[in-house]
Symmetry: C2
Subunit: 218 residues, 2 copies
């Protein structure tokens, strides 16, 4: 039986790979696990049926038999722990890869999301523009720290892992801010060259193309 | 050999349990694992020696033999996976507990941190006060969603787990905002009643008391 994930019926990004089901699709493609997709219309996100699977009313979810998961980090980790290919074999190396998964969602993603919030939701506030430099500065500090840790390595710690997958998926959210860090641009490009990334991206884009007009969230 | 964690030499909170080594101390106490603590002065956080263990120049880190980890979520998960007591036995229940760990650090903690940033660092900006209601509203939405998911259960999903530990450690950061959610207040109180929590808190406070004047970060 294949797992089922949920995704936007019409993603606000129009299929540019930013909706968070991309992370799960990519992980499933990396390990060669087929999956089903259930599209959720925006108006159903906060309804009880979806909230019973995702208490915060977001996508994606992951369902496999009786197991229901949410949080992309947890879903990707579950996929990585139940298949070969996304985590190293050695226990120490596995723990380090998981550290990078947490770094992606709890150290790098919050300032990236903050910049998105400032761009999308605070732009019409009288103080929206005044706040932007502080938001960018916090993001740049984190990006600079990560760029220093990556250096000229191909992936963050040995072969490509679920850590890289989650890190790249955060970096693409703030692609315009990566320019001062050429090694981060090259890192994202390497990731996008992976056949599994391309299949996941194409699958997500096909949904957006079929949906027509992207959801307006501003 | 005991693991070694790092902590603030003089925490800005003066030992109120908010420095993030508390999460790791608590997890180690829950599983009965003794540990060593290396105190890091603020001025050493961004130096190469510490950054080689924590690329973002923060505390805590976790060192055990050749393994060096950072990110509290990853450290607590590692402790939970290598000891009994913080994760359920069934694979599905384990995956759900890990989902709540990620929800703590990537869904609940970012708006909680945003409120802290607004209170500590934006209070002197001309727009600091104007922004506060939007920050609070985002936090209250997430807290309300989590309160609905918790309901009148003792812990979020079966017996106390690493998921509860991480969730509680985020909630205590915004304790003043929990008042509209009596079940969250009671949840935090239940957690604080655990002997392991009390031991961890006392150990962290002893460091702060010995350090004297708390670090000023505002």
């Amino acid at each position: 039986m294949k797992p089922t994930i949920t995704a936007f019926a019409n993603s606000p990004d129009g299929g540019q790979g930013l909706a968070r089901d991309m992370r799960v699709r990519w992980a499933l493609e990396e390990v060669g696990q087929e999956y089903e997709v259930r599209l959720v219309p925006w108006e159903d996100f906060k309804k009880p049926a979806h909230r019973s699977k995702q208490p915060f009313g977001q996508i994606p979810t992951f369902e496999h038999g009786n197991l229901v998961l949410f949080e992309t980090g947890a879903i990707v980790l579950h996929i990585a722990q139940t298949h070969q290919g996304l985590l190293p074999e050695s226990p120490d190396a596995r723990a380090r890869a998981i550290t990078w998964m947490f770094a992606a969602v709890s150290t790098l993603e919050p300032p990236a999301t903050d910049l998105e919030v400032n761009e999308y939701f605070e732009q019409n506030e009288p103080w929206g523009a005044a706040r932007r430099p502080a938001v960018q500065k916090r993001l740049w500090t984190r990006l600079g720290d990560f760029a220093a840790a990556l250096g000229q390595k191909e992936w963050i710690d040995g072969p490509f892992s679920a850590g890289d997958l989650m890190l790249v998926e955060v970096l693409v959210r703030v692609e315009a801010e990566l320019k001062p860090f050429p090694n981060l641009v090259a890192y994202v490009d390497r990731a996008r060259d992976r056949p599994a990334f391309k299949r996941a991206f194409a699958a997500q884009k096909a949904v957006a193309d079929a949906a027509g007009e992207p959801l307006k969230i501003r």
